[in-house]
C-alpha cells in the first residue's frame, strides 16, 4: 500500500506540473487581451486549478487545496462574467500559481510555504465583488453546471444527449459505479461533508449523478441524516478495488453497473431535475491519455489534439540507448563473421541486411525519443518578460516562434540559464522606456522575438530585440576602463570584432547594475555555457535599431560526429565541431613548419601562430619527444634549403607528424597526434565521477570494436595550450612589428601551379572553376589548336609557353592538369604539368619587370618566385576573335574613376584590366587614401574591394555621404562570389572581382547614368 501511495503521489506531482504549466501562458494570454472576453483561456486555467485542488484534497494536502480553492473561486467569478480580471488580480493569480508549483515540487515541506499573502489578496478580491452566494459550498455546483456545456472537452452535448456522453465515457475505458453513502453514518460520523465527498469522488473520475441536492441535506446531528442515503453515479477508469482504498469506503457501498444501467439512472434522474451536482465538470478523467495543450486563445478541433503518450523514465530511455548501442556493436561483429565464414549459407546475407536496417532504425528511434519540443523552455519566457516589464516600467511584447522545434532533453535543460539571461538582457538593457522609444520615433511597445528553427542539421535560436542596440564606443570605453584591452589593441578593429568583446570575462555594459541582470558575470558565462553544449553564438547589433543574438546548437548531445585519433597507442575521439583542419608537418613535401619560441612549440599556419599540444606527452606527463626533434628537424630542413633541390629529395626524410587544428571559442591550437584514424559518429556516455577531475576528458564512448575511448575536452586542452602561449605571442608580435596593422582581411588565395619545369604561376583562386586531370592522349588537335572533350563539349586548351615567356613543358608525362576558369564568356583551359598548392598572399607585386601581356607581375611567396598571370590578357592573345577587349575612349570616364583595393596583386590585376581598355584610373591602397582622393570632388565612380585597410568601405561610404556632393558618387563593390549579400546594401552596384567584361561595362554604364543626371 505504501508503494502504491508513493506511486500515486509521484503521479500527482507529474500531473499537477502539467496543469500548472498550462496555467501561466493562459493567464498571460488573458492579461494580453485585458478587458476582452477570453472564455477559453479562463476555462483552461479554471479547469487546471480545479483538478489540482481535487487531487490535493484526495491526498490531504490542505495547504495546496486551500490556495487552489480561493484561486478557483476568483476564476469562477471571472468565467461567469461576474467580474473582469484586472492586472493586479492576474498578478496575484500568477504568484499563487508559483506558490502552488513550489508546494507541488516539495510535497514534504509544502506546509512550510507561506501562502497568506496570496490568500488574503485573493480573499480581498472576492469580498470586493460580492455575489449572492459567496460561501464555499457553491463552488461545487457552480463549476459543475457551467463547464459541462462550455468546455469543448466534455465530449457531451448539452443535456438530453445523455446517451452520447455515456457512450463517450465507455469508449475511453470508463467503468460505471454506484456509490452509496449513508449521510449520517458514513459522512457525518467521519466528520466529513457531502461536498467534500463529492470532491473526493471527482478526483477519481467523473461524477455523473447524485441522488440528492447536496445543499439541501440535513445538517450533522440531525436525526434525519441517518435516514438519508446519497447515491453517486461515478464514471472512472480505475479498478473497483482501488475505489475502496481511495475513498476509504466499504465494499458494500460500491456496486458496479454497466453503461445501460447508468444511462437509465441518468435519464430518469435528469427528468427530475436533481442532477445538479452530477452533470459533471470537464474531462478530468485520470487516464493515461494526455491532451496536448491548446494554443491559448485559438480553440481547435479537440479530437485531433488527443495523442497517445506514455510517461517513460529517462533512465529507461538511457538504458535503451545503451542497449541499442551494444546491439550495433554486436551487429558489426556479426557482420564480420558473416562476411568471412557465412558464405555457404544462402539466406544469411539477406538476414544480415535486415538486421542491419532494423538495428540502425532502432537506434535512431530511441534517439528521437529523447527529443523534446523547445517550447517546454520557451513557455517560461512570457512570464519573465511580463514581470520584468512591470518591474522596469517598460512595455514589451514577446513573440515566440518555432516552439515545436525538437531538441535533446539535456540540451534544453542546459539552455535554460543562458537563454533566460539573454532574454533578461533584452528586457533590462536593450528595450528602452516607452517615452525614450517614442522620442526616438519607435513604437511605444518594445518587441522581443524569440525564434527557433532548423538549419543545416543544427538548431538555431535567434533572440532579437528592437531596442537601443549596442554602441561600439561604449564597449570600447568599457573595455579600456576595465583593463581588458588597451586602446592600442582596439585600433583597427571592425565593428563586429568590437561587439565580440562583450563576451570577455568580467565585462558588463549596464550603466547601472540592476537587480534584474548584470552582475558582471554577463555574456562570457552565456558563451561558455553555449559552447559547452557544442554550440556557438553570434551577436549582431545596430545602434538605435536593436540587436540579435543567434545561437547555433546541435540537435543532440548523445551522438556527435567525431574524429578518432591515436596518441601514443591510445585512441581518443575529438568532436568534429572543434576540428578546423588537419595538417601534416615534416615529410618530404612538408609545407608547414613547426618552430620553437620561448621553449614552446608553435605552428606557423598561413601567417597565424598556433600553440601546439602534444596529446601523448600532455596526458602521460612525459616530455614531448616531438619538441626535442623539432630543433633537429629544423636544422635538417635548413640544411636542405642550402642544397640543390634534386639532392635534397634524396636526403633523409623528415619524420611526418599529424597536427589537428582545433578551436574552442576564440582559441585555436594545434594538437599533435600519432595517427589519424576514422571519423565516426559516436554515442556519448557520461564520465564517471572518478574521471571528472581530469581536465582533458569530456566523456567516453564505445568504439566500433567494443573498446572504450575517451572524448577529448577541447576547451580543456585549449586552456593548457594557451597557458604560456599568450606570452610567446606578444613577444612574437614585438619581433615582427607592424604585422597586425596590415590585417589579415586583405589576404587573397592564389592557385599556384607549374607549367614548365620549375617556374610557378599563380591565378586568383576565385577565378578558377575546376581543375581536371586528363591523360595526354585525350587531347585533340584541330587546326593547330589543342582541345579536349569535357562532357561532350570541346574546350580549347593553351600552354603558357605559347604566349608568354615560359619553359616548355616536359612532354613525356602521361597526365596533364587542366585549369578551367570561371567568370569568362568563352572557356579556355590552361594546361599545367603539376599543381603546386593554394597559397595566401598579400605580397607586393613586382610589375615593372613583367610588362609582357598575360603577366601581371611577380612576387616572392614562401621564398619562391611566383608569376601572377593575367588570364584575360592570355585569352585575348589566344583567341582575339572571342576576347576583343572593349575599349572606352573617354577621358572623362577614365579621369573620374577611382579604384580602392588594399591587395597589391588585385590592384595590379585591375590596373591591367583598365590599361587594356585605355582607362587610367587613380588607385588608392587604403580606405583613407580613397577618402582623401574623393575630397577634391573629381571622382564620380569608385570601385572598391569589400575590405580595405585603415578605413573600411562602410565607413568610407558613410563619411563620403556626409560630404558635399558626396551622394553623387557611385560605389561599386568588387566582391568575391561568396560575399554577394553583404555587399548589396551599402553599395550602388557590385560585380565579381575578376569579371573583366562586366567591370568595364559597369564603369561605362554607371558613368553614363551619372552624366545623364
Amino acid at each position: 500500500m505504501d508503494k502504491f501511495k508513493e506511486d500515486l503521489l509521484s503521479d500527482f506531482v507529474l500531473e499537477s506540473r502539467e496543469h500548472l504549466e498550462s496555467v501561466e501562458p493562459n493567464l498571460l494570454d488573458i492579461e494580453e487581451h485585458l478587458g476582452e472576453d477570453s472564455p477559453v483561456a479562463i476555462n483552461e486555467v479554471f479547469r487546471a486549478i480545479h483538478s489540482l485542488k481535487g487531487s490535493a484534497a484526495f491526498f490531504g494536502l490542505n495547504k495546496i487545496k486551500d490556495l487552489a480553492h480561493v484561486m478557483e473561486n476568483l476564476l469562477m467569478k471571472a468565467r461567469d462574467h461576474e467580474i473582469v480580471l484586472d492586472r493586479n488580480q492576474i498578478s496575484t493569480l500568477l504568484s499563487g500559481t508559483d506558490k502552488l508549483a513550489a508546494m507541488v515540487e516539495d510535497l514534504q515541506n509544502c506546509d512550510a510555504i507561506d501562502t497568506t499573502e496570496e490568500l488574503e489578496a485573493l480573499q480581498k478580491y472576492l469580498d470586493k465583488n460580492p455575489s449572492n452566494e459567496s460561501s464555499s459550498s457553491d463552488t461545487i455546483e457552480m463549476p459543475v453546471n457551467e463547464s459541462a456545456s462550455k468546455t469543448p472537452e466534455a465530449g457531451s452535448a448539452p443535456s438530453g444527449s445523455v446517451d452520447d456522453e455515456i457512450e463517450a465515457l465507455r469508449k475511453r475505458g470508463n467503468k460505471f459505479f454506484q456509490i452509496t453513502y449513508s449521510l449520517g453514518h458514513q459522512i457525518h460520523s467521519k466528520s466529513k461533508t457531502p461536498e467534500g465527498t463529492l470532491e473526493l469522488l471527482e478526483s477519481l473520475g467523473k461524477v455523473l449523478n447524485c441522488s440528492h441536492d447536496l445543499t439541501q441535506l440535513p445538517a450533522p446531528g440531525d436525526p434525519e441524516a441517518t435516514q438519508v442515503n446519497i447515491v453517486f453515479l461515478l464514471a472512472t477508469v480505475l479498478q473497483e478495488d482501488f475505489l475502496y482504498d481511495g475513498l476509504e469506503i466499504e465494499q458494500s457501498q460500491v456496486s458496479a453497473i454497466d453503461a445501460d444501467e447508468a444511462r437509465k439512472i441518468l435519464s430518469s434522474d435528469g427528468q427530475q431535475g436533481s442532477s445538479s451536482a452530477g452533470s459533471s465538470k470537464a474531462s478530468e478523467t485520470p487516464s493515461e491519455v494526455s491532451v496536448k495543450k491548446e494554443t491559448p486563445g485559438r480553440p481547435k478541433a479537440t479530437k485531433s489534439e488527443i495523442r497517445e503518450t506514455l510517461r517513460v523514465d529517462v533512465k529507461t530511455l538511457n538504458k535503451l540507448m545503451d542497449l541499442a548501442g551494444e546491439l550495433v556493436l554486436n551487429r558489426n561483429q556479426l557482420k564480420q563473421v558473416v562476411e568471412t565464414e557465412g558464405k555457404e549459407i544462402n539466406s544469411l546475407g539477406s538476414l544480415m541486411q535486415s538486421i542491419n536496417i532494423v538495428t540502425s532504425e532502432l537506434q535512431a528511434t530511441i534517439m528521437n525519443a529523447r527529443l523534446q519540443p523547445i517550447g517546454v523552455l520557451f513557455n517560461k519566457f512570457p512570464r519573465i518578460i511580463r514581470d520584468l516589464a512591470r518591474q522596469l516600467d517598460k512595455e514589451i511584447d514577446l513573440v515566440i516562434e518555432g516552439k515545436d522545434v525538437d531538441m535533446d532533453k539535456s540540451i534544453i535543460e542546459t539552455l535554460s540559464d543562458p537563454l533566460t539571461h539573454l532574454i533578461r538582457n533584452c528586457a533590462d538593457h536593450a528595450i528602452e522606456k516607452p517615452d525614450v522609444r517614442v522620442a526616438a520615433n519607435k513604437p511605444r511597445r518594445g518587441k522581443v522575438i524569440l525564434r527557433a528553427y532548423h538549419k543545416s542539421g543544427q538548431v538555431y535560436i535567434d533572440i532579437n530585440d528592437d531596442g537601443a542596440g549596442i554602441d561600439p564606443e561604449v564597449i570600447k570605453a568599457k573595455v579600456v576602463e576595465k583593463n581588458l584591452r588597451t586602446p592600442e589593441q582596439l585600433k583597427g578593429l571592425s565593428e563586429q570584432e568590437i561587439l565580440k568583446l562583450i563576451f570577455l570575462p568580467g565585462f558588463s555594459t549596464a550603466q547601472n547594475v540592476t537587480e534584474v541582470s548584470g552582475r558582471g558575470v554577463g555574456m562570457d558565462v552565456v558563451r561558455t555555457n553555449i559552447e559547452k553544449l557544442g554550440g556557438s553564438l553570434h551577436l549582431d547589433s545596430t545602434l538605435g535599431e536593436g540587436s540579435t543574438v543567434t545561437l547555433k546548437l546541435p540537435l543532440t548531445l548523445a551522438i556527435i560526429p567525431s574524429q578518432i585519433i591515436d596518441a601514443g597507442g591510445v585512441r581518443y575521439a575529438i568532436p568534429q565541431i572543434n576540428l578546423e583542419e588537419m595538417v601534416q608537418v615534416g615529410g618530404k613535401n612538408g609545407k608547414y613548419k613547426v618552430e620553437v619560441i620561448n621553449g614552446k612549440e608553435v605552428l606557423r599556419l598561413r601567417g597565424d601562430l598556433l600553440p601546439l599540444v602534444d596529446m601523448n606527452a600532455l596526458l602521460k606527463k612525459e616530455k614531448s619527444e616531438f619538441s626535442e626533434q623539432i630543433v633537429d628537424d629544423n636544422e635538417l630542413q635548413d640544411a636542405q634549403v642550402g642544397l640543390e633541390k634534386d639532392h635534397a629529395e634524396d636526403d633523409v626524410e623528415v619524420a611526418k607528424r599529424n597536427i589537428l587544428v582545433l578551436s574552442a571559442g576564440a582559441n585555436r591550437f594545434g594538437l599533435i597526434v600519432s595517427e589519424l584514424l576514422d571519423s565516426e559518429e559516436i554515442v556519448v556516455k557520461p564520465l564517471s565521477s572518478y574521471l571528472k577531475a581530469c581536465r582533458y576528458y569530456a566523456g567516453a564512448t564505445i568504439l566500433g570494436d567494443g573498446k572504450v575511448s575517451m572524448i577529448v575536452d577541447v576547451a580543456g586542452l585549449a586552456e593548457t595550450a594557451y597557458l604560456d602561449f599568450d606570452r610567446c605571442k606578444s613577444q612574437e608580435n614585438v619581433a615582427s612589428t607592424g604585422s597586425d596593422t596590415r590585417g589579415t582581411n586583405r589576404k587573397e588565395q592564389f592557385f599556384v601551379f607549374e607549367s614548365g619545369t620549375d617556374e610557378l604561376f599563380a591565378l586568383p583562386l576565385q577565378m578558377i572553376s575546376r581543375v581536371d586531370k586528363i591523360r595526354r592522349d585525350e587531347l585533340i588537335v584541330i587546326d593547330g589548336k589543342m582541345f579536349f572533350s569535357h562532357f561532350g563539349e570541346l574546350i580549347r586548351l593553351i600552354w603558357l609557353h605559347e604566349f608568354i615567356p615560359a619553359a616548355r613543358p616536359d612532354e613525356s608525362s602521361e597526365y596533364i592538369h587542366v585549369i578551367l576558369p570561371k567568370v569568362v564568356k568563352h572557356t579556355i583551359g590552361v594546361c599545367a604539368t603539376s599543381i603546386h598548392d593554394i597559397l595566401e598572399s598579400d605580397a607586393e607585386l613586382n610589375c615593372a619587370d613583367h610588362m609582357s601581356r598575360g603577366v601581371i607581375g611577380s612576387a616572392m611567396i614562401d621564398e619562391k618566385a611566383v608569376v601572377f598571370l593575367d588570364l584575360f590578357g592570355l585569352f585575348e592573345m589566344a583567341a582575339p576573335e572571342l576576347y576583343v577587349s572593349p575599349s572606352i575612349n573617354d577621358d572623362k570616364i577614365s579621369s573620374q574613376l577611382l579604384i580602392a583595393d588594399s591587395n597589391p596583386a588585385h590592384a595590379a590585376l585591375l590596373n591591367r584590366f583598365c590599361h587594356s581598355a585605355n582607362l587610367n584610373p587613380r588607385f588608392a591602397k587604403t580606405g583613407m587614401e580613397a577618402f582623401q582622393a574623393l575630397k577634391d570632388g573629381r571622382y564620380k565612380t569608385v570601385l572598391t574591394a569589400p575590405q580595405l585597410s585603415v578605413l573600411d568601405p562602410e565607413s568610407l561610404i558613410a563619411q563620403v555621404g556626409s560630404m558635399e556632393n558626396g551622394d553623387k558618387i557611385r560605389f561599386i563593390a568588387l566582391t568575391d562570389l561568396a560575399q554577394k549579400k553583404e555587399a548589396d546594401d551599402i553599395f550602388d552596384d557590385r560585380i565579381l572581382k575578376f569579371d573583366k567584361h562586366r567591370l568595364l561595362e559597369v564603369i561605362g554604364a554607371v558613368d553614363c547614368e551619372v552624366t545623364e543626371v
Binding site: 545503451d322 542497449l323 548501442g325 551494444e326 556493436l329 591510445v570 585512441r571 600532455l618 596526458l619 602521460k620 606527463k621 556516455k685 564517471s688 565521477s689 572518478y690 574521471l691 577531475a693 581530469c694 581536465r695 582533458y696 576528458y697 567516453a700 564512448t701 564505445i702 567494443g706 573498446k707 572504450v708 575511448s709 575517451m710
Partner: protein, 165 residues
C-alpha cells in the same frame, strides 16, 4: 546466527573479503582503456556490455603499490548504489559501494566462504596492514587474516585527488 557469503581476493598478497551481494560479476579479461591526468587510483575505463565502467586500483587507496594490469589480473565488477538499493531497503546490507559502475582490480580471486557475523572480529588497535579506516573487521582464516573491506570508504570520490596523502 546469520550466515553471509564472502568473496575472497588478494591484492599484494593481502587477503580481503567482500560481501558477495556487492559483487555483480568477476571478469578475467577486460580491455582497459587507460586514463591519464587523474590519480593512480583510476586505472581507466572498460566496456561492460555497452556500459562504460571505471576500473579502479583499490590498492592505491590502501597505500599499496600501484598495480600493473596484466592478463592475470581479475576485475571485480561491483554493483552500483542504485543496484543495491533493494538490499539496503530490506536491511540485508549496510555496506556501500559507488554511485557509478566500477570495477576493482585484484591479483587473485580466492574461494567464496560462508561466515557468521560473529566470526568477524573488530579491528585490533595495533592493526597496521592497511589503514583501519578501510576495514570493517577481520577474520582469522587458518594461518592468514582476511580483512573485511570497507568499500564505501575505499571508493569515496571526494578523496580521489588526495587519497594517498
Amino acid at each position: 546466527m546469520s550466515l553471509r557469503q564472502y568473496i575472497s581476493f588478494t591484492i599484494d598478497d593481502i587477503l580481503f573479503g567482500l560481501d558477495i551481494l556487492l559483487v555483480k560479476e568477476i571478469n578475467k579479461k577486460l580491455d582497459v582503456t587507460p586514463a591519464y591526468d587523474v590519480s593512480d587510483f583510476v586505472v581507466g575505463t572498460s566496456n561492460l556490455r555497452g556500459q562504460v565502467i571505471t576500473i579502479l586500483d583499490i590498492g592505491c587507496r590502501l597505500e599499496l603499490q600501484p598495480r600493473e594490469v596484466t592478463s592475470d589480473s581479475r576485475v571485480i565488477v561491483l554493483k552500483s548504489e542504485q543496484e543495491l538499493s533493494q538490499h539496503h531497503k530490506s536491511g540485508r546490507l549496510t555496506e556501500h559501494t559507488s554511485e557509478d559502475s566500477v570495477g576493482i582490480v585484484c591479483d587473485h580471486i580466492g574461494d567464496v566462504i560462508e561466515l557468521d557475523d560473529r566470526d568477524i572480529q573488530p579491528i585490533p588497535a595495533n592493526f597496521s596492514i592497511v589503514s583501519a579506516h578501510f576495514a570493517n573487521g577481520i577474520y582469522q582464516m587458518d594461518e592468514t587474516l582476511m580483512i573485511m573491506l570497507n568499500l564505501g570508504a575505499a571508493l569515496a570520490v571526494e578523496e580521489a585527488g588526495n587519497a594517498t596523502s
